[in-house]
Amino acid sequence: MASWLSGHPDLAGVALGTFFGASTRILMLRSDYRQYPAYPHGRIIHMALGLIAGALGAVAVPALFNKDYTAITFLALAAQQFREVRNMERNTLSAIDQLELVPRGAAYIEGIAVVFEGRNYLSILAALLTSLAVTLAGWGAGIAVGALYLALMLKFRKGKTIRDIARVEFADVRLDGPDVHVGGIYMMNVGLEANRRIIAEQGIGFVLTPKSDDAKVTLANLGQRQAILHDVSTRLGIYRDDGEPALLPLAKLELASGKLGLLVLPRERDRDKAMMAVTGVPLLEAAVRMPTEANRRKGGA
C-alpha cells in the first residue's frame, strides 16, 4: 500500500483528496431534530455531491502541476453545480413549508440552503489542500493535512445560537379577560373561552432579554422569531391543528426594552427541554445585524 502510494503520487493525491473531501461532507451531514436532509434519500443526494466535490478538488492539483491549466474551469463548473444545490434545497423546503403547522419561514430556509452550498465548497477545499500536500510532500503529509482539516471542521462547524445573544427566562402566561400576556408583554386577544383554557393549561412562556444592542436587532427580526417558534415546535411537538387559528405559538416584542416575549404550546410540557430548545435555536445569517459596527466612526469616538 505504502509503496504503491509513493509510486503513483498523482493517483495518491487524487485518491486521498477525494477521500478527505467526501469525508468532510459526510461528517457535516447530520440528520438531527430538524430532520433535514430527510433520511435516507436526501442523504444519498448529498453524499454523492460530496464525493463529486471531493473528486473535483482533488483532481485540480495534479492537473495544474502538469501544466494543464484548463483544470481550473472544472472548479468553476463545480461552483455552478453547487449553486444549483442551493436552489434545490430552497425549492424543496419552501414547498414543504406550506404544509407545516408552524412554518420555518423564508429566512430559515435561506439559511439552510446557504449552508448546504457552503459545505460543498468546504469539501472541495479539503480535497484541494489534501491533494496539494500529497503532490508537494508525499502521501504522509496528505493524510496529516486531511486529518487536521477534519479536526478543525469538527471544532468550528457549530454556529452561534440564541444562547449567545440573549438571556432566556421562563415567564408566566397570564390571562386577563381575552388578553394573553407573557411576563407582562401583551401577546394577543383570544375570543373563545375554550381556547383561553387551552392556552392557560398548555402554554409555556419565555422572555428573551437581548444581551447587547446588536442582539436587540437580531431578536426583532421576524425570520429569526419564526425560526425560534419552528424549532421549539419541532422539538417539543405542538398543541395545534389546522382550523384552530387561535392556538398559535407567538413571539412579540416589548417595544420599550427590546425584550422578546415567547408563547409556545408544546405537546410535551417539559420545562427543561423547552428551555434547551429555545436556547439552542441557531442564529440566522440573514437576521444578524451589527448596527454598532456600522455606526462606529473611523478613528474612535
Partner: protein, 63 residues
Amino acid sequence: MARIAAIVTTRKDEAAGGAPIIHVADRERLKSVSNLLEKALDCAAHQIHEDMIILVDRHQKNR
C-alpha cells in the same frame, strides 16, 4: 392586511358595515356561534367586549 370576516354580537345597534353581522340573543349563544364560526371559517375570534366578538381573516391569499 387582516380582514374582518364576521361580527357576532348581542347588541345589534353597535355593529354596521361591510362584514356579515350575526345577531345573537345572549352571551351563551355568542360563545357557541363564535366557536362554530371560528372552526368553519378558520378565522381567529377576538373579543371586542363581552357582547361582541369579531372573526379576523389572516389568510395569505386575502392580503
